[in-house]
């Protein structure tokens, strides 16, 4: 892999409430300009990893007890979350987290604070409305009344406004219809291609995530269990079994048959 | 019998009533010091045991319980009407003490209901009655406005004021009850301007919002004479207000610290002990201690036991008593109160309250 990494995470340990350890020596890196996927089952600590990177942990009583995180070559320790954002690291949080009381447009305005010190986007909000026409229709509505998918669009729209160098995407497809999943991922790919923004993508939809990304990490219990180029991961037997739902043959197995299949993951013992 | 005489007290040394509490404390203590220097009562020293209450009934009660469960108390000085009413039943039940205090509530002045209570001066209604008698004397048929705060303290004399005014042929043209905590009095002043009374009697306030009231009224060219009762009659307090205070009048049962009347040996002593002006609460405390110890002395002289009944009887036996000039006339205590007072007027140039009437004793 090329040496130039926009994000390097080295052996971080994370503890919530001074008692619950969630990450245990996790390391990963995101090369500049690339999309990297981070997969793992519920509660593995994916979101926590992203929060550690964007330093939003402190709001939830979390604390890094060991390890180092470097963004754009600089150690992030001691940096304020908003300062990181202004340097170009944007975190699209799990569960959308749009500002419910603000209108769609005001939500986008809020994101312009990430631009402090840099130029305002050329087309203003039109670029976002171009990607998501539905948002344009509802620009005066309070965001809390949007449907789940519309809210997800808004969350990604906010990231677009900020013109970041690295976007942390936490489950962008959560609760989206298939056509929207397709659309959102297409847009993500486009953003990556047009702006060269790097991305760290956390996703449950492993098929898409692996297709979109160049490199992938799989984590369990706060540690990376497996990593490698995405196309090689797709071929891995365990990944096929547990993340893609394909048994030995080529096609996906039916959910009706699952009862009969209950094999434990090999890497979990 | 006891080795020493203990007087208990719940004193508001802090909180909204601290200005009075601190003065009362000095007054009580000074008289007791004087008395002890002269050998106490029958050779027994008098001791004042007290604690701060912050002017909160529950605290006063806690202090009362704390003091009475560790000392043998026959006289107790309370800090508020609320306390006096709360502890009243207990005083009547135990029957072994008399309750004095900083409250002049009319309600306490009923020997039927409160046989063991005692007020060192006129009650609030009597204070206003003294003012009304003065007004009736000066300008018969005058119009009067009543301005009372919406508190128990403020509403206390309303009924009796109306009755007395009618009896004296005075016309109550305006009744104002101010909202608790109200700061802006302009609407009340407007009402005043509309009815233009000759006199306006405040009751239920210490200082605020009287100065603002008076200032605005003067601005509007009103010629109303403003008057107040004991707790809003301190000389120093008005001196701080400045020009606006000039001409304010009110009733005061005691002499002021700076009064140089000749028949007042006690005032000389007080000025000897305290080089600076003392708040009128001081006089109240001083006189309270004097009367409490006098009653104790009388009971002990008669060889009776110190109980609520004997002490109260001794208080009521006080006839034409000389207070050493604290009050300018000899006093008697027919019931629970000492219904005497005098009308003073504030002179801004002198910075002092000046007497404008003689001593008025009600019921004469």
């Amino acid at each position: 892999m090329p040496a130039d990494a926009i994000l390097e995470v080295e052996n971080i340990e994370l503890v919530y409430n001074k008692s619950v350890q969630v990450l245990r020596g996790l390391s990963l890196r995101v090369p500049r300009g690339q999309i990297v996927a981070l997969l793992g089952s519920n509660g593995a600590g994916k979101s926590s990893t992203l929060k550690a990177v964007s330093r939003l942990l402190s709001l939830e009583n979390g604390e890094l007890t060991a390890g180092r995180i470097r963004f754009d070559g600089q150690d992030t320790a001691g940096m304020q979350p908003h300062a990181l954002v202004r340097r170009g690291l944007f975190h699209v949080m799990e569960g959308r987290r749009i500002f419910e009381d603000l209108t769609v447009e005001e939500n986008l305005t809020a994101a312009t604070f990430a631009l402090s010190g840099r130029d305002l986007p050329r087309g203003g909000f039109d670029e976002v409305y171009g990607y998501f026409p539905r948002l344009a229709e509802r620009r005066g509505t309070r965001a809390g009344y949007l449907s789940g998918g519309e809210q997800q669009m808004l969350a990604i729209g906010r990231a677009l406004i900020a013109q970041p160098a690295l976007i942390l995407l936490d489950e962008p497809s959560l609760g989206l219809s298939p056509v929207l999943v397709e659309e959102i991922f297409t847009i993500i790919a486009r953003i990556n291609r047009d702006t060269g923004a790097s991305m760290l993508l956390v996703e449950q939809n492993a098929a898409v995530a692996l297709a979109l990304s160049r490199y992938a990490y799989i984590m369990e219990n706060g540690k990376i269990q497996m990593d490698g180029p995405s196309d090689r991961m797709i071929a891995d037997q365990d990944v096929r079994e547990f993340y893609l739902g394909q048994s030995d043959g080529a096609g996906a197995r039916s959910y009706r048959d699952v009862k009969h299949y209950k094999r434990r993951k090999r890497w979990l013992s | 019998q006891e080795e020493e005489i203990v007087i208990g007290a719940s004193l508001p040394l802090t909180g909204v009533f601290a200005f009075a509490g601190v003065a009362i404390e000095s007054g009580l203590n000074d008289y007791i010091t004087l008395l002890n220097e002269e050998g106490g009562i029958d050779g027994k020293p008098v001791r004042l045991v007290y604690e701060d209450t912050g002017y909160k009934v529950e605290q006063s009660l806690a202090v009362f319980n704390k003091i009475t469960s560790s000392e043998d108390v026959h006289f107790y000085y309370g800090d508020s009407t609320g306390f006096a009413k709360t502890i009243g039943p207990e005083i009547e039940r135990s029957g072994d003490m008399v309750l004095a205090g900083a409250s002049f509530a009319t309600e306490l002045n009923d020997p039927e209901i409160h046989p063991h209570a005692f007020i060192t001066g006129p009650d609030y209604s009597e204070m206003v009655e003294i003012l009304l008698e003065y007004i009736a004397e000066e300008s018969p048929g005058a119009t009067v406005a009543m301005i009372n705060s919406d508190t128990e303290f403020g509403r206390d004399p309303i009924e009796r004021t109306k009755a007395k005014a009618e009896e004296l042929g005075l016309d109550i043209v305006l009744e104002i009850v101010t909202a608790p905590g109200a700061v802006d009095v302009s609407t009340e002043v407007l009402k005043l301007r509309r009815s233009r009374p000759d006199y306006a009697i405040f009751h239920g306030y210490v200082l605020a919002p009287l100065p603002e009231f008076i200032t605005q009224a003067k601005e509007l060219g009103l010629e109303t004479q403003f008057m107040g009762t004991f707790w809003s009659m301190d000389s120093k307090q008005w001196a701080d207000v400045g020009e606006a205070a000039d001409g304010y009048m009110g009733v005061m049962p005691y002499r002021y610290y700076h009064d140089t009347a000749e028949d007042a040996p006690m005032l000389d002593k007080i000025r000897e002990m305290r080089g600076v002006y003392q708040h009128s609460g001081y006089m109240q405390g001083f006189l309270s201690a004097m009367l409490m110890t006098e009653a104790t002395k009388r009971v002990m002289a008669s060889g009776e036991e110190l109980t609520g009944d004997t002490l109260k009887a001794a208080l009521n036996s006080i006839q034409d008593f000389d207070t050493g000039g604290i009050i300018g006339v000899p006093i008697s205590i027919p019931g629970n109160s000492v219904p005497v007072g005098r009308v003073y007027r504030f002179d801004a140039a002198a910075g002092e309250m000046m007497p404008v009437s003689d001593w008025i004793t009600l019921g004469d």
């Binding site: 793992g40 519920n42 519309e150 959560l174 219809s177 291609r193 547990f242 009862k259 | -």
Partner: protein, 277 residues
């Protein structure tokens, strides 16, 4: 003691339901039926009104027109608690567990509408109140907790559980309501394949072993295709297609509005190749 659902699966009919918020029309005459003992899926684009339909059924929203029939009886005027009493249970799109309570208490809460303890009995906690509580405890332990394999977490506060387990506790709570009709709003959202498989197994088992009618909103087409018996498709608050899963999938209108090109992974790979060039 009568464990399990109250007397058999229910039949639900939604007839011509409309609903609007201010000026926005969320539902414009939606009708469909969930047959007793079947799994009916409601799919549709985001904002199509699926959750709104659920909210109308469970009584949280009052539709402006239309009827909602449970076993042929119009329940449109009943309050949510009354509907719950009739055997209607649901889970929520954004998990709505009671975070201050343990798993066990959350599940017990589901039974609320079927219990009788009154205030006086509760204060004294003797006789009927105690008997009722003990019976409930036994049933919850033996039928629900055991069935959903959550015995290891029963005394944990739900706030500390992972997403997948929380979804499972929601299902458990719904089961404690003795449902005859179970509404599941996106039961496998945010789950990976393995966890989805577990959930699929529970849903199928609930249908079969408890004999419950299930109405489900879900975006995971794989799951829908595999386990549902009937699919209704909503778009802009209107039904645009209904039928067997395979029929619906083949409908071009549905493909256009909802399904997209079909295989997002393939699309991604293509995009990727384009980008690389």
């Amino acid at each position: 003691m009568t464990p399990g659902p109250a007397a058999g699966a229910a039949r639900l009919s939604v007839e011509d339901v409309t609903l609007s918020f201010g000026g926005i029309r969320a539902l414009g005459g939606v009708s469909f039926t969930a047959e007793p003992g079947s799994i009916t899926a409601v799919i549709g684009p985001n904002g199509a009104g699926k959750t709104s339909v659920f909210n109308c059924i469970s009584g949280f929203y009052r539709p402006s027109t239309g009827r909602i029939l449970l076993d042929g009886e119009n329940i449109g005027r009943l309050s949510p608690p009354k509907r719950a009493g009739l055997g209607m249970a649901r889970s929520f799109q954004n998990i709505a567990l009671f975070r201050g309570m343990t798993v066990l208490d959350n599940i017990k809460l589901g039974r609320h509408a079927h219990m009788k303890t009154n205030l006086l009995q509760a204060l004294v906690y003797a006789g009927p109140a105690r008997r009722e509580e003990e019976a409930l405890r036994q049933e919850v332990e033996e039928r629900i907790i055991d069935f959903l394999e959550i015995d290891h977490i029963r005394n944990q506060p739900v706030a500390t559980l992972s997403y997948g387990l929380q979804k499972r506790v929601e299902l458990a709570r719904a089961l404690a309501m003795r449902p005859r009709l179970l509404l599941l709003d996106e039961p496998v959202a945010g789950m990976n394949r393995e966890e989805t498989e577990d959930m699929a197994r529970f849903i199928l088992d609930v249908k079969e072993e408890w004999g419950v009618t299930i109405l489900m909103v879900e975006h995971d087409m794989g799951l829908i295709m595999d386990i549902s018996d009937h699919v209704t498709v909503l778009n802009f608050g209107e039904v645009i297609a209904a039928g067997l899963p395979a029929e619906v999938q083949a409908d071009p209108q549905v493909a256009e509005a909802y399904l997209g090109s079909g295989d997002p992974a393939e699309l991604m790979r293509r995009l990727h190749r384009e980008a690389a060039e």
